[in-house]
Symmetry: C2
Amino acid sequence: MKTLFENITVITMDDNIGVVNNGFVSTDGKLINYVGTSRPSGNFDRVIDGENKVLMPGLINAHTHTAMTLLRGYADDMNLQDWLYNKIFPFEDKMTPEDVRRGSGIAIDEMLSGGTTCFSDMYFFQAETGRAAVKKGIRAVLSDCVNFDGYDRKVKLMEEMAEEFKGCDLISFTFSPHAIYTCSFELLEKCAEYAKRHNMPIHTHLAETRTEFSDCEIEHNMTPTEYMESAGLFENPTIAAHCVAMTDNDLEILKKYNVSVAHNPISNLKLASGVAPVPKMLDMGINVAIGTDGASSNNSLDMFEEIKAAALIHKGTSLDPTAVPAETALKMATVNGAKALGFDNLGIIKSGYLADLIVVDFDVPHLKPMHNPVSSIVYSAKCTDVEYTMVNGKIVYER
Amino acid sequence: MKTLFENITVITMDDNIGVVNNGFVSTDGKLINYVGTSRPSGNFDRVIDGENKVLMPGLINAHTHTAMTLLRGYADDMNLQDWLYNKIFPFEDKMTPEDVRRGSGIAIDEMLSGGTTCFSDMYFFQAETGRAAVKKGIRAVLSDCVNFDGYDRKVKLMEEMAEEFKGCDLISFTFSPHAIYTCSFELLEKCAEYAKRHNMPIHTHLAETRTEFSDCEIEHNMTPTEYMESAGLFENPTIAAHCVAMTDNDLEILKKYNVSVAHNPISNLKLASGVAPVPKMLDMGINVAIGTDGASSNNSLDMFEEIKAAALIHKGTSLDPTAVPAETALKMATVNGAKALGFDNLGIIKSGYLADLIVVDFDVPHLKPMHNPVSSIVYSAKCTDVEYTMVNGKIVYER
């Protein structure tokens, strides 16, 4: 399949190129094979006119629990313990593989129609999520999350999944110890070793709340980050979700091991966890990606909303209007997300890169006028402005 | 014109009724004349089926500068003084009445298609905005904003507008001294007296930034709120936009005079002004409405986004997940907005109230499943889910 997008504004997210006006982008099979200002030669199976449209990399949701769409709006505005123990956990206890298939299906429809082309999931019955992802054509990074005494069972599930999705280039895996408060130190160590042995990245929750932080200090005389470091987890490539309650030394640890942070600003606000020290992370050169978390604490999987929240919240809380500028926020949801998930050919509109891209329709009042396409995407566009979503060279959503 | 909405979920925002499932709402002329669970008798010019849809009051944007859509994305992520003096003011200096007409037109299209049925504007060349509002059928509360030495000219413009729009029930007025840093004390007093004499509400900016607060303390040995009180402004019904930098005594002053606050959470974040003490205001019984501010500091006039931001930001900054629950945030954008703007028959779906209402389409992945319609509207719906917008009994937007 060869597709050409012509006369389109291209936000490449390539530092050397930036925005291309009246650009042409062509794809061949799974890859982008041309980005430039003249029409590439050759025949195309489909040509899409780019008038009043912007083409950009597909958005990468670095931390979510897709099947939790089923709990969207089920319980809100409650104290965390009450919410978790009286609402979320009892609901999840009853969830079947079929529920996970349904919940993931809703999530994937929501993501594809909203410009997300890749997501990193952490939940249970993940083979169902993988099947839904393959069926609908979205790129997924899966992990059947380990907690309490579930290690052997989860390793078995992960290995069955690896077998089932062998050769399927939409699906890859991480290994996920859930968090320090649901895994013993020995379990964290076992997960670190397993990931190392099988060359898998780690995906985990880290320092989401002040309670997690102070409990860890009381129990282990260490911060959550120090505790995870001591269990050897960070010796693997790691995506650490949240990282709200962090000391300066904790940030140094993330930097030292090249840990990627999945920043979830809306969930952190909604659950009253606080605001992660993202400007400091970025200043230190830590790789910060963006996630929506699950739909029960957001209540959306809308990466456009999440990018805007990431660009806004640090300005308002640090009182610095230059914190997390638009370009940086968009990088977090594209380039940095790809890096966090271990891709070296994703997140940029560039020849040779995976053809995961979206086209946004600018012919709506809320995107008029357009002074700066990056600002428009970050501060003004809606996920519903997405007109085409392409994953792996295939248009999988068309408005 | 008689319209019937049938078999629809109705979020009435009426404390005694709440949500009506499988409801019927009918309108006759400018008013709602039935809300209930059985089909009202009579003939209708139009019947709209409500399957998978939610009907609710139209949203009220209590503080905006509509024509600033022209500056959307023109300058972002800059220090406030640099932004204002090197970008915004020079751009505005060149704006003509025709620009204001064009900018207001874009804004009104954006608002109507996004479920906003009424806005309170403060800018210049407001007659142009009024003409655009009447043409497109949105309810507008206008004020040609007074600053520096503009008093006589602005009084004349306001009186010409009053004459031009006499008998037009979509248009009403406030009187707007811009802010304490652009008006002398004598000018503020003159505005207070004019408003009193002509029985007009005041619409002003108050305590938006810490700089405004500390400058006022240094110059006048008073807080901005005390300063405005001493000028007699609050002796009129008043909408005070922002109210970020407030002492406890300042809040007592707002309460004492029944001043309504227009909370602009996104603009306050983007310009790094901070977070207004809204939970405290609500606890004290101060009437808090919601505004988007101008599109240059947002960069959107999306009230859905603003409601969600209002529900999120106070949880995350106070670390209390029960702060500003969904229902409260929605009240701010409907009932409280109507009250702030001086309407006693707006903001609730109730017989005898003005037929300003919207219908939201729930047949989209991001609104599935629906456990609680109020939660879905506040945390999950997009402005682009609005299918019908009715103002004054007339459907003025249809997707």
